[in-house]
């Protein structure tokens, strides 16, 4: 599964009309993609829809870039696999 593509798709869902080329791993959610705190809540829900994973508020709190989300999801998927 390409987690980055899933995240990209979820961001597009939350922020319709966003120039997709801006969604790169280093992009800052707030400064570069204009996602405010409510958008982040919607993004977490959209990702949960896609992945069947539950992203906790405190986990989302440490997220600043697109790459951070990808890393968080990958680590959660790994934990799921091993447990």
């Amino acid at each position: 599964m390409d987690v980055f593509e899933l995240v990209k798709k979820a961001i597009c869902k939350v922020e319709p009309g966003l120039d997709e080329s801006k969604i790169v791993p280093a992009a800052l959610l707030k400064e570069d993609l204009d996602l405010d705190s409510l958008d982040r809540v919607e993004l977490a829900l959209a990702l949960e829809d896609e992945l069947g994973l539950y992203l906790q508020d405190e986990e989302m709190g440490d997220i600043f870039t697109v790459g951070d989300i990808v890393a968080l999801i990958e680590s959660k998927l790994k934990v799921e696999k091993t447990s």
């Binding site: 939350v14 922020e15 319709p16 009309g17 809540v41 829900l45 949960e48």
Partner: protein, 419 residues
């Protein structure tokens, strides 16, 4: 304390979204031609209901007025209000910096607020998908969000209200805005009303209540027929009207175009019944009297009444009685017409839209008709401007709105002269 002189208040910008059109000009043109905005319900399957018609807003391009994210997040009633607000502020040629943001208020009323967003969210609850309920649900469900989002968009940091006063909400909102400026709490207020109630729950509830027109499913454009003997209920529609009110002195200072002056306002309650007006029209009559007194004018000064005129059996008789009580022999000389014969009943949106139409009546000297007036009702015996618009010089208009719960709101508008 010394008596502070009340400031004069004018309307300098107008915007609307209704089943007749998504801008003021197309609405006014349709209204003067006597066109109906009523058609079959397309939003959901209404085939099991007695009333299968409504006034749906068509060809509304929300994205012309707000961004994609806003459209996704907010109920149509908020989208209509936002679009009408954008239009009204453009029309007023308002630019940030013309007023101290702390002196700019927003008062947008609604009868029911969010409906379709609620119904969609509740479907998820019934399906057990609690974790899928949109986080924005409660923001939509808080009626006041409609006034808040407009304030956020335009940086209006002054007083912010959302009167939930049923079908009087839009009229009441403009009246509250009038008072805020008159009493010096604000210099400019964006005010109006909005509702989007063409949803299964709303229409079914009103159908079961027996409030809707049920005999006209095959001729929807004939269903809303205020004051006609064959009327059998109102037709639900949806939309929003928003106006920009300003203190006369500050409006003149920025050379604003002025549609007319708000000179009187009153609200009261029948305290009689949930849905029926006082049968002798006394509650409504008292509200009109109070508004005339507030305006400092005599009944004989009024040229035209933009009626509440819902097309229900009870309203139209009670309103006629109320007009006769207040205006006595002058009631026969007055023109009275119902815009709802064409727009249908937009609930909280109607009062505000009707204020705008009243201002255009003053501006253009054209009284829009009451369409579908075919068979006189002996109990409704005034001049309802039947079926065809009429040219007339109109200086003073009384605009009536009466809502469920017995809430009444009346505004008095006047042509601005001698400035």
């Amino acid at each position: 304390m010394a008596q502070v002189e009340k400031r004069r208040v004018v309307i300098t910008g107008v915007g609307m979204v209704t089943p007749l059109g998504t801008d003021v000009d197309s609405n006014w043109s349709a209204l003067c031609k006597g066109k109906s905005g009523i058609g079959p319900i397309t939003r959901f399957d209404a085939s099991s209901l007695r009333c299968q018609i409504a006034g749906e807003v068509k060809d509304f391009h929300a994205r012309d007025f707000m961004d994609e994210k806003f459209v996704k997040r907010f109920d149509p009633f908020i989208q209509y209000a936002m679009a009408a607000s954008v239009m009204a502020l453009q029309d007023a040629e308002f630019r940030p910096g013309q007023y101290d943001p702390n002196r700019v208020g927003v008062v947008i009323g609604t009868a029911c607020g969010t409906n379709s967003y609620f119904e969609n969210a509740h479907r998820l609850v019934l399906q057990g998908k609690l974790n899928k309920v949109p986080p924005f649900f409660l923001l939509n469900d808080s009626g006041n969000m409609v006034s808040a989002v407009v304030a956020i968009r335009f940086g209006a940091k002054g007083p912010n209200h959302c009167p939930m006063e049923a079908c009087a909400a839009g009229t009441s909102a403009i009246g509250i805005a009038f008072r805020l400026i008159q009493n010096g709490e604000a210099d400019m207020v964006i005010a109006g009303g909005a509702d989007a109630g063409v949803t299964p729950t709303c229409i079914a509830s009103l159908d079961n209540l027996g409030a809707l027109a049920t005999r006209w499913n095959n001729e929807p454009e004939k269903a809303s027929r205020p004051f006609d003997a064959k009327r059998d209920g109102f037709v639900t529609s949806e939309g929003s009207g928003v106006v920009v009110l300003e203190a006369l002195d500050t409006a003149l200072r920025r050379s604003a175009k002025i549609y007319g002056e708000v000179i009187g306002f009153a609200r009261n309650c029948d305290a009689y019944h949930y849905t029926s007006p006082t049968p002798n029209g006394e509650g409504q009559a008292e509200c009109i009297r109070l508004a005339l007194r507030d305006a400092g004018i005599a009944p004989e000064d009024v040229d035209y009444i933009n009626a509440h005129g819902t097309s229900t059996v009870l309203n139209d008789v009670a309103e006629t009685k109320a007009i006769k009580k207040v205006f006595a022999s002058h009631a026969r000389k007055l023109a009275v017409s119902s815009n709802k014969s064409m727009t249908g009943h937009m609930w909280g949106g109607s009062g505000a839209v009707e204020v705008i139409f009243s201002l255009l009546t003053i501006r253009d000297g054209v009284i829009p008709p009451t369409i579908n007036y075919e068979t006189p009702d002996p109990e409704c015996d005034l001049d309802y401007v039947p079926n065809k618009a009429r040219r007339a010089n109109v200086d003073i208009v009384v605009s009536n709105s009466f809502g469920f719960g017995g809430v009444n709101a009346v505004l008095v508008l006047k042509k601005l002269e001698g400035i």
